[in-house]
Symmetry: C2
Subunit: 518 residues, 2 copies
């Protein structure tokens, strides 16, 4: 089977891995990946951490894949799709024939319509940036030390992370957001106000309900940003974090159905061509796109199942017939072969020093399912707002601003689907110190405890990796993928590795391979 | 010294007791009390409990006072005050000369201006009631069994209690309230909504933002109530709980300064006549009147101190001179001799089956002091709203709707002024069952724990009363005053008495008089 994957981002990378994992032993497919960037695939979610200086650009690379996964061509952009001939042409002029084509082209940063931006053809040189690729991060870092005042446009998760990163570099930073409260896509007004309070405390000036209308510049460098109310912000550096738009040009030019993204069914196939699939940020599945990497990874897993099921049809000359109506939402009864998205693929965590915002599932006060119970703990003077939505004694959504470790407990309850206490409000507070059960000590943590939720890696698997020879967080990441998602578990994984180093020094040289309770 | 007390309600009664307690041993004053009601003084706060059938009218009597307190003339209304001659004339024509006059005339129920009420000269016979005296309670009870539909006008504490009492008798009951939410004097909107939810669950129909404009009647009996929006409620029984107005006629006719109530200074003396004092609901002290009995009792205590300090001046022919400017607010430095109102005199608790509302201090979102921190736990689907206001690590206000025993903990923290935990939100939830410390068991309760907050009676004092021979809640009430305030501690005191009966059976006949840890 000839497979072409267009796009070698986090999801395209995962597609290769999943295809190899689902491929029958002995089968060899011809898999080609076209990556537009020169860089090896990296963890895009951690780009704001690179801007903050907490990670070096090199340290966010994803683990390398084995030979069996396919041929990876970096610096090759797909420029033409000929569906009749079943081939993709790249910008080096090379043609790549396929039986199955997987579009994982991702999304680009949206550049808002602001007067004066068009006069700055080389935005990054002018001090105006987006943050979508590792080059963008490096470009921002290169200018941070000469700048004094920064403006971030867009108060979503990425905008908050960038603003905190720039404040951390000592820049006087203003966050400009069009909505009434920051992160209004995830947070209700009270939670958004608490998050804004945390930003202000961290040193970020927050301007909500503000829309930039023009940039001023001199000698090819940005000097100011004018807002719709006429006020003018002096600034040396602008970072645009005003959302993304799916990269759909290749699909649209080939006549495939495109709405906001590339339209696909529950089986991730295009309704216009059963040999073409789309996953990740470029795709528009029936249940909608969250823009979160966990959803793309889940899609990669399902896609591998679908392609394996359709191998015979895809490799025959006849066009394969979809086995279910691809426009249907996923049938829960079909969970075995087309697994449903796992709970917890929509946990959003803001990464940054001085802020503590986590949101998951149904929250923010919108689209609450019938019969769901909403509880909230508001402590505006304490910078805290916690919200919990419970349905049938399970957490179906939560928002935590300034909640500290309560957030971890809620994420655990949400992703594991554990039953809530008789009084669900108990989840909004941790037991007082005296009575606290330190579930955080690696010693007391059960082997089944999930450390890396993005990749479903348990403590037991980290211990097994240690026994197999992994001696650092990087080694553990290479074996288990732990820490390569949102990165939020890096401390926890590091803590377990540290604990193993101290408690299990003999093991370092012993080749023990027992399962360690996994 | 000749003292005349006008009014023999809860506060007038307490004045006699306090005067006797502060009088130097050996002194005998001529104290006369004029009580307009025929009944012996009773606990007015429990009238709604009488309507609910939980107390018999006879069981809410206050403990009788000893001979030394004064001569009590019941059924005598004061009709004239001659300040020049320093005497009060009663409705039997008898004159009562005084050196000091204490007005404790209380307040009457306010009858709202509703068309048709004037056509019903005998309101109670027509099925329209107020609830201010024990006769009112008896009058309502007499009609409850023939009525099917009841309407309560006024959604304050008393209105809620009456509505719940009537629902308890099986009447289809509607509560009509002019404000946007019930108890809006004490509760913010979210708490008010939770309280209204509890009322609805208990079976009370709640109509907020509704103003009655007319009563309909036939054959001298009420038949309906028309609201300002034109809707008509059919009803056999109407209870007006639309607030009170201070009884100031005697003072006003005598030319004393009267505003809403009888104006007094911090020393409770009238600025118009240093021999005339006013306490309780008829008085208007500089800090305002709460309408709560605890404030009146506190005033009775302060008044006894003031009168004792001015004994020489009051008994001389010369008019006494106030020792401080009576219009000043109470000087905290003067706390020793003119004690400040004790914390916790403004705890409001709604009594009724199926409702759980307690409010104290600064709450409801209004007049929050600078620097105070407000926390709230909202659980509307669970019928719960808890609010806490903290200043300088102490509780300065709280609202509890549907909070169960959390309310007791908050009242204790508020009245005792204990330090709040590092995370004050811990006060909004009790520890989970497994970890609960059962401070409620009499065995574990310290002797210093206050059982009756209205009268500051500790567990140790109840134990001491038991050892002195008290064998029932009534006996304990007679010795200690416990349970004679808001009545909220009746269960707790009963529990301690029960525990003593079981754990200390020998003690019943033994005349032990040791202090039992008080």
């Amino acid at each position: 089977m000839r497979v072409v994957v267009v796009g070698h981002g986090m999801v395209g990378h995962r597609v290769l891995d999943e295809l190899a994992a689902h491929r029958p032993a002995g089968d060899v497919d011809d898999v080609v990946v076209l990556g537009a960037e020169q860089a090896e695939p990296y963890n895009r979610v951690l780009l704001s951490e690179v801007v903050a200086g907490r990670y070096a650009p090199s340290s966010i690379r994803l683990p390398a894949l084995g030979e069996r996964c396919g041929r990876i061509l970096t610096g090759r952009r797909a420029v033409h799709l000929d569906r009749a001939a079943r081939l993709v042409v790249d910008d080096a002029g090379q043609s790549h024939p396929y039986d199955a084509l997987i579009l994982a082209t991702g999304a680009s940063a949206r550049v808002p319509d602001v007067e004066g931006l068009a006069d700055l053809p080389l935005l990054a040189d002018a001090g105006v940036h987006v943050l979508r690729g590792v080059d963008d991060a490096v470009g921002i870092l290169a200018q941070v030390h000469d700048a004094r005042r920064a403006t971030v446009v867009g108060g979503g998760v990425l905008g908050l992370e960038i603003a905190l990163a720039l404040v951390g570099h000592g820049l006087a930073t203003t966050l400009v957001h069009g909505g009434d409260t920051v992160m209004d896509r995830q947070l209700g007004p009270a939670a958004g106000a608490a998050a804004a309070g945390a930003l202000e405390t961290a040193g970020v000036r927050v301007r909500t309900g503000a829309r930039p209308t023009a940039v001023g510049h001199r000698d090819g460098r940005v000097t100011s940003l004018t807002l719709a109310d006429g006020s003018q912000l002096l600034t040396d550096l602008v970072v645009l974090a005003a959302g993304t738009q799916p990269d759909v040009d290749l699909a649209r030019a080939a006549g495939l159905p495109v709405s906001r993204g590339i339209v696909v069914g529950a089986d991730l196939a295009s309704p216009g061509d059963p040999r073409v699939f789309a996953v990740g940020d470029c795709a528009q599945p029936p249940q909608g796109s969250t823009g979160l990497v966990a959803q793309g990874w889940e899609q990669a897993r399902r896609l591998a199942v679908v392609i394996e099921r359709r191998r015979a049809a895809l490799t025959s000359g006849e066009p394969p017939v979809a086995e279910s109506d691809p426009t249907d939402p996923i049938d829960p009864a079909d969970g075995g072969e087309l697994p449903l998205p796992a709970g917890g693929t929509d946990v959003v965590r803001v990464k940054g020093a001085g802020i503590d915002v986590v949101s998951m599932g149904v929250s923010g006060g919108t689209h609450r399912p019938d019969g769901a119970r909403r509880l909230a703990l508001a402590d505006p003077d304490g910078g805290r707002y916690l919200e919990l939505v419970v349905l049938d004694r399970r957490v179906v959504g939560a928002t935590c601003v300034g909640g500290g470790r309560v957030a971890s407990d809620l994420v655990a309850a949400y992703t594991r689907g554990t039953l809530v206490p008789a009084d669900p409000a108990q989840l909004l507070l941790r037991p007082v110190a005296g009575a606290a059960v330190t579930t955080d000590s690696p010693l007391r943590m059960p082997d089944s405890a999930t450390l890396c939720r993005c990749n479903s890696v348990t403590k037991g698997q980290v211990v097994a990796a240690w026994r197999d020879g992994a001696r650092s967080v990087g080694d553990v990441a290479a074996c288990t993928r732990a820490t390569t998602g949102c990165g939020g578990c890096a401390d926890a994984v590091g803590g377990v590795v540290e604990w193993l180093r101290e408690s299990d020094p003999e093991q370092a040289s012993a080749p023990a391979r027992d399962a360690a309770g996994v």
